[in-house]
Subunit: 476 residues, 2 copies
């Protein structure tokens, strides 16, 4: 228990302590840096970021952010955490990369130390009113930033349910899965430059697409089949050298934590362009991630067995013990003309066929080097129930709204989903096959303690679709 009040359904109890990059308009947390004499021990050489404090490292607790750069400036880490000698330098950075590069033992020691500092029965921070005022920032007043400098972003395709659903739509149920799918975690390179943090608006892209199935000539137009993809993603901690694969038993050492991700997709653009080299402009106009990185250590209590893998994977992909995480996932939509978000998808990370450690081991088996901050997406996380053929979807239970994309929810635009204009008028609905201008999409995820006493959550991953902006040169 922390001395910070944390409601039972909060995503950010003391058991979580996710890391993020935040800034504040008035730099509230960093005011003391302007009067160095207020420091418990004066800093000899304040680094430039402190004089112009902007994005810096924080940890979420309840509805607050604990500003680690302030704790570092007060020499808390120097005194209590010898494992982290350059805390001020590391926590004043505008990305988590420096911290994420330090590795598991430092992360673990820092977590222990912060849990101690935040404990209800530890007075150090609890009873220092002045320091508490400086070190805690209400989340409501902070702006969140992209947590990492992402060198490369790879997206996998690891939900059997999603791959099957899409395969049924495109090739029929007898050829739903490609021959390689059950042998390796299929993945491809995504675009790192357009990964944005939750809250960033996404502009509807235009591009080439077919006029109709019958007409082989493409047209230029704004996408008419805008979609989301419910995903999660892992962030790389320490990287590996080019030519040096990471073995699967060491894969976890290279993963710092996870976020929720919306891989926005323009299905019509994607469909025309993707043969034979894969998705490109249908995907790279924007990918949204949640701002708080939940560490693997915080997720550890929620490890469960993943789906049975048959055929047995090749040796380099074999692992033992529970390798899946029980993360409840939801997608909500709010059209501009609706009052509330409405849940249209409920799924779970535990359904994913290939584990994140299998993804990482496979990614490096050819010697490909990962660097700190690299992002690995899971692919769309659809749930196990498919209403067309339960045979295809496995035996696990689920609801019929477990599809992680509108492509699946509207079954390629063949049916509409209904969204109440407000929760108080459930019969007054707005219809959707794909995302319309002004619609906001909100994704969230959380783990639930077995006794229901707390949640370890990911907060929100939200984005609004802006209308396409026509320009003269793009006509015709």
């Amino acid at each position: 228990m922390s001395f910070i009040q944390v409601p039972k359904n909060s995503h950010f109890p003391i058991q979580n302590l996710p890391y993020g990059i935040f800034s504040t308009v008035q730099n509230v947390g960093l005011e003391p840096f302007y009067s160095l004499e207020t420091f418990s021990q004066p800093l000899l050489t304040p680094s430039p970021p402190l004089l112009q404090p902007s994005p810096r490292v924080g940890v979420a607790i309840g509805d607050q952010i604990l500003d680690l750069s302030v704790l570092a400036a007060y020499n808390f880490f120097q005194q209590g955490l010898p494992e982290l000698p350059h805390a001020l330098h590391i926590f004043s950075k505008p990305t988590l990369n420096a911290y994420m590069s330090l590795g598991k033992s430092v992360w673990s020691a820092t977590r222990k130390f912060l849990q101690h500092l935040l404990s209800a029965d530890v007075a150090t921070l609890r009873d220092n009113t002045d320091l508490r005022h400086r070190a805690f920032v209400p989340q409501a007043t902070a702006r969140m930033h992209l947590p990492a400098d992402i060198g490369d972003y790879t997206d996998f395709y690891c939900s059997r349910e999603h791959a099957t659903n899409v395969g049924v739509m495109f090739r029929g149920k007898d050829n739903a899965l490609q021959p390689n799918w059950l042998h390796l975690p299929v993945g491809y390179h995504g675009r790192a430059s357009s990964v944005v943090v939750s809250g960033t608006d996404i502009r509807r892209p235009a591009g080439q697409r077919l006029v109709s199935k019958e007409n082989p000539t493409p047209m230029f137009a704004p996408s008419a089949r805008m979609d989301f993809e419910l995903e999660m993603a892992w962030l790389v901690g320490p990287g590996n050298e080019l030519g040096e694969p990471v073995t699967i038993d060491k894969a976890k050492d290279h993963i710092f934590g996870m976020v929720v991700m919306n891989d926005w997709s323009a299905r019509d653009i994607q469909n025309w362009e993707y043969v034979p080299l894969g998705p490109f402009l249908g995907k790279n106009f924007g990918t949204t991630i949640s701002p708080w990185v939940v560490t693997l250590e915080a997720l550890e209590p929620f490890l469960v067995n993943g789906p049975a893998q048959d055929p047995k994977p090749l040796a380099y992909l074999q692992e033992s013990g529970p390798t899946a995480y029980d993360v409840h996932l939801e997608v909500k939509i709010k059209p501009a003309e609706a009052q509330d978000f409405h849940t249209i998808c409920r799924s779970n990370l535990k359904y994913m066929y290939w584990s994140i450690t299998q993804q990482l081991a496979h990614h490096t088996i050819n010697g490909c080097n990962l660097r700190t901050g690299d992002l690995g997406g899971t692919g769309t996380l659809s749930g196990p129930v498919c209403q067309f053929s339960p045979f295809l979807c496995g035996l696990d239970s689920g609801t019929d709204d477990s599809y992680g994309s509108l492509l699946e929810l509207s079954w390629s635009g063949s049916k509409e989903i209904s969204i109440p204009r407000s929760t108080s008028t459930p019969d007054d609905v707005i219809k959707r096959k794909f995302i319309e201008d002004g619609d906001s999409i909100l994704m969230t995820g959380w783990c639930e303690a077995p006794d229901g006493s707390y949640r370890v959550g990911f907060g929100e991953c939200v984005g609004k679709l802006l209308p396409w902006r026509e320009r003269g040169h793009m006509q015709g």
Copy 2:
């Protein structure tokens, strides 16, 4: 003409002046920084990179490198180039990104200024023996580094000849080109982390591949079909904001220059994995680029008309005037047991169907943002002659060794190419279908002045294949 001696066949005359990042063991060029009084005007605040000089910006001229950080330290730019106020800062960096971000007018002014300084009839640098000693570094004594911090690397597939050859092999000649190929420059995201500079050894990757066509179960093994791909690539200067496409008439303003590139490929891994999301581990274990970035301005005199485009592209891809570059390209191979490099491919950038400006405009048409330093590959640049069906290859002339990959040269392993053990014993040959351990691959490219008086060249892009390194965990 420069006061630096430049042989007629050199790639680096005063008309070229490509930019690169280099370092020297003894930091020869930067010695003067340790005795500040030797400066013509002392520096008030030498920045840290100068005190630990390592990779920095240079320009190639003949067999020398002109160290721009030395020129900047002597205030040459401050005095002669007001367009570039922070020259010392920019030219002391370990990447070209800061300089590339400045844009066309600064690049152009810098080029004029350097051509002036290097002119045979300008005394400033020519007659200052001491400064010449400090500012010029023999290329033979320098180590070249990756020229840019590459945020994202995109690879296109823009040679009609290559796409056709591969298509014929995979799908037969009637379906060689996919339906979208003549409508858009097909591209996909590559891996930025494994782009390396010429001279870096590449380790043979292992991975999943099929045992045989008849057996659908994959095996784990080192790749048995190692290949090169002859490509060129452009580097992004100023980027564009997410959601803001670059129009084709402005595309050139966003390209700083070009390099020669070897997109190493493991054909068996690629073949098993690439459906439906494109190449991944078959490509991302290493991509080699030449160290000297030849500016678009230096290539301007070699603009020629590209292939006729039929059907007419959509409006956003239409451009006028010559848009192709007449760059002669060669691939050479030297097995470990051979004495010399032997040329196995002669091609030309001018055959490329989609121009580099069409590639860039297409890449951003959906709002995808490019950042300074991003790399855009052309795809394999095969020449126009295909020995199996001239009908497929267009009417242009060419030689039968114009294939830009071994996949094409050995026609998917169905025939062998012969490499003389030495130039003096042409009949004593080594046979190859794909690249063997210890083979070195060298690519080069150059433009030739119409009167043959000089070349604007790219230098060399070279790499050696190291054997796969087995590790215990990867058995079975």
